[in-house]
Point group: C2
Chain length 246, copies 2
Amino acid sequence: MLTTAQIKHLKSLKLKKYRQNYDEFIIEGDKLITEALLGNEDMTLLIATDEWIVNNKATLPAHVAVEIAKQKELDTISSLSTAPPVMALVKQRSYTIADIEVSDNWILALDGISDPGNLGTIIRSADWFGINTIICSNNCVELYNPKVVQSTMGSIFHVKTIYTDLHAFIAANKHICVAATLDGQQVYGFQFDNEGILVIGSESHGISASILSLIQHRITIPSFGKAESLNAGVATSILLSLLANK
Amino acid sequence: MLTTAQIKHLKSLKLKKYRQNYDEFIIEGDKLITEALLGNEDMTLLIATDEWIVNNKATLPAHVAVEIAKQKELDTISSLSTAPPVMALVKQRSYTIADIEVSDNWILALDGISDPGNLGTIIRSADWFGINTIICSNNCVELYNPKVVQSTMGSIFHVKTIYTDLHAFIAANKHICVAATLDGQQVYGFQFDNEGILVIGSESHGISASILSLIQHRITIPSFGKAESLNAGVATSILLSLLANK
């Protein structure tokens, strides 16, 4: 049974302030629980309905503390419109640029992505297309925002997402930088190298001027209709698909 | 000034039942208002703060009724977390399959897309890549759901989205059908014709078996990492980008 203090603590993690104080976050639903266990994440508590626990007893790892919760309690802890019957408390991993593996691959750099659904979708697509590392400018939306976590569909545990001063990172890096802009060279026909940094700007302001000054190539997804722009998650994913299938 | 009855009516349109009763929906923010006016949509009422009206007087069309609203009133009418200073009441357009223009272009068919953000994103991407017509199975999320409307970023006024019995539509259509599945031929290298129907399945169940039996080609976006799937809006957009740039 969950104590009142535990419920209060779990509910507090809806707010960034408390997620940062405790270095913890909540994951919801079977898919994320499975991925967290597969990834050997530091899961400190699993809470679920009686029924869920009965049905999943065989696969529950011995090292994770388990508490039964009423659906009503899960409803108050959940950030989703419909609370699933299982959630878990997981310790945040914080990666720094020292954790970037040297390899002949592309790094994705995000400059001010502010929509949590977009960041989650980008992480999921990066995972699909084999990108291991995402560098976020410090003004990107927080990685452990519940909407980011849920929309990664577990890819949050496969991709290293690192927050840093993006300008300083790019300035210190020897890789070729390619940026998605509205005035670049058509991306179809663009010859991607085997490694580099792909830079994506914010939904409303694009790439900041100081970072744009460090870019070698600007690329654009050509338009055929009347839409003014593509969703940032979509545009990033299209570019990653071209990178992966170059 | 808005009357209490008007506010009640506008608030009721958050629910599908009332949107369908009145054939109306609400659009929020400058971008959608601009696109609705450009598209000569049937806008029956524009509501905005005093300040917004003062700043936009020059561009307000004479034929649209305008009411001043307090920000507090807009907050109660809005479906967004932060209500913008301008909204409008717009009549729904209902297209049928008789409205499909005969042209050598692709039609996008959606089988049970249920997430409003995904449908909105797909409409926006279809617009970007020059697709004029989307056929939705009757169990897709409603077009005038506020989250769909807002995430189209105005493309709802550029693309004809038609709800129908998708199986019957495809069965009666002479075009080649290409479906996105997880077990298809690699899409890179797939030769798209100049016209056809691209079929996308639901987020959780894919394409229904009865529709799958009508499909000539199955295509797949190859994976390079550990993600189990791509977001449905992303996968659709990647395929549309390849179609448009074939």
